[in-house]
């Protein structure tokens, strides 16, 4: 696995193939974030594609010491913040557990949902979540806690 700095440097030096490595490395993170934000598989794919496209345009300006994963996630959040929740889903996930995850996360307001997704789905540290969301650590901890509690209660109600 290549380090962020290597990927960025190679991209800067004109190695066009390296972006394929970037997609390969981070497509899971980005697609997950998109799917859990919009709930629809087709739409999630299209959003993830837009994010990588935006990343491709912006990557050449990126300092090589930037943490690529965090930067990509920040870019994704910027884009996903404005995504409207559809009234109905055209292509929900086929897996029941995945649908349950979506439904549970949909109970949360957007700021709480992002905090929980980054922390508990993508398993980032609280510090990294704070960095990505550009928020103080205390605010992030509070959002994660409140998000988890809301989600837990809604899930418990559903299981009754």
């Amino acid at each position: 696995m290549l380090e962020s700095a290597d990927l960025i440097r190679r991209f800067h030096s004109g190695d066009s193939g390296v972006f394929e490595r970037v997609i390969e490395e981070y497509q899971g993170d980005i697609y997950t974030l998109c799917l859990r934000s919009c709930g629809d598989t087709k739409r999630a794919e299209s959003l993830a594609e837009q994010i990588f496209l935006a990343a491709h345009h912006a990557l050449y300006r990126l300092a090589p010491d930037t943490a690529l994963r965090q930067w990509l996630l920040r870019l994704s959040i910027d884009l996903l913040e404005n995504v409207e929740q559809p009234d109905s889903l055209d292509d929900p996930p086929s897996d029941q557990q995945s649908v349950l995850v979506n439904d549970t996360l949909q109970q949360l307001d957007t700021p709480f949902r992002f905090a929980v997704m980054l922390r508990d789905v993508l398993e980032l540290s609280e510090t990294d979540v704070a960095d990505i969301l550009n928020l103080p650590l205390g605010t992030v901890r509070s959002r994660i806690h409140r998000g988890r509690l809301t989600m837990a209660r809604s899930l418990a109600k559903e299981m009754e």
Binding site: F11, A58, A156
Partner: protein
């Protein structure tokens, strides 16, 4: 520990980030309070669900499809960066001289092509003796085509060739229909790009909104927030002007907008603008 305080520490308790005495106090409170214990159980259940099923693998072929779209993009950042880095090593005066030379060469070649295109029909319609000026201008074309006499009336247009940038030509030919929303990409817009767009919105009597139709206040872009998506809503009467200005600002072909869009009144048109630092 009071149940209220213990509840506020459940998350940290599950993450095992509490100091030992505090963690013990939470455990005691949980053992004492049934509601707190139920919250803890439910939270554990939710976290297990997210941990086991939260991640979703990207669909098969996603990478290849995305690479295809990326490859179709007109401005690959890496090449620009490559050029910028190399140009940064060359003295500015040299770059200026080289640029000027390129413009002259481009202008001459465009002029020659125009002469060639314009002379052919002229010869068919009127047989006129070649003027010395025309012959002089035709000289560079000789190697490619048979010299053709040029009537004196054709000379002024040759004297002032107006090279049009290829991109502008193709962009201005795109028909615009205010009822078909378009998306624009502004790459390398600079940190003040949103203020530029806000000025454009003022000039066209429009407003900047997010996807929910809520007004957006312009802000500076930075490395941390280098990308933004906003919508410009204008009256249909000024939509053509807005479209033209956006094309100029973007420098790229717009694309049909088929994604979400903010709510509109009947007399309004919408544009999506994706702006980058």
């Amino acid at each position: 520990m009071d149940s209220f305080f213990a509840r506020n520490r459940l998350s940290a308790y599950l993450d095992r980030t509490l100091p030992k005495p505090e963690a013990e106090a939470v455990a005691e409170a949980v053992a004492r309070d049934m509601a707190l214990s139920a919250d803890l159980r439910a939270m554990k259940q939710a976290l297990t669900l997210l941990e086991d099923h939260g991640r979703a693998p990207a669909p098969t072929g996603f990478k290849a499809r995305t690479m295809t779209v990326v490859a179709q993009q007109p401005v690959p950042g890496s090449q620009i960066a490559w050029l910028q880095r190399r140009l940064a090593r060359v003295p500015t005066e040299w770059v200026a001289v080289l640029g000027a030379a390129l413009i002259v060469v481009a202008a001459l070649s465009t002029g020659s092509r125009e002469v060639k295109e314009q002379t052919a029909p002229a010869v068919q319609s009127q047989k006129v003796q070649p003027s010395p000026q025309a012959v002089a201008i035709e000289a560079p074309v000789k190697a490619q085509a048979k010299p053709t006499p040029l009537p004196p009336t054709e000379v002024p247009s040759v004297k002032a060739p107006a090279p049009t940038p290829k991109a502008t030509k193709s962009l201005s030919n795109i028909p615009f229909d205010p009822s078909t929303p378009m998306g624009f990409r502004i790459l390398h817009g600079g940190d003040q790009v949103l203020y530029d767009i806000a000025t454009l919105a003022d000039e066209t009597g429009g407003r900047l909104v997010n996807v929910h139709g809520k007004l957006v206040t312009p802000h500076s872009l930075s490395e941390a927030r280098s990308f933004t998506q906003i919508y410009l809503i204008t009256p249909k009467e000024t939509a053509v002007a807005a479209h033209k200005k956006l094309i100029q600002r973007s420098g790229m072909d717009p694309y049909p907008l088929d994604g979400p869009r903010p709510p509109l009144d009947s007399g309004e048109a919408v544009f999506l603008i994706e702006a980058q630092l």
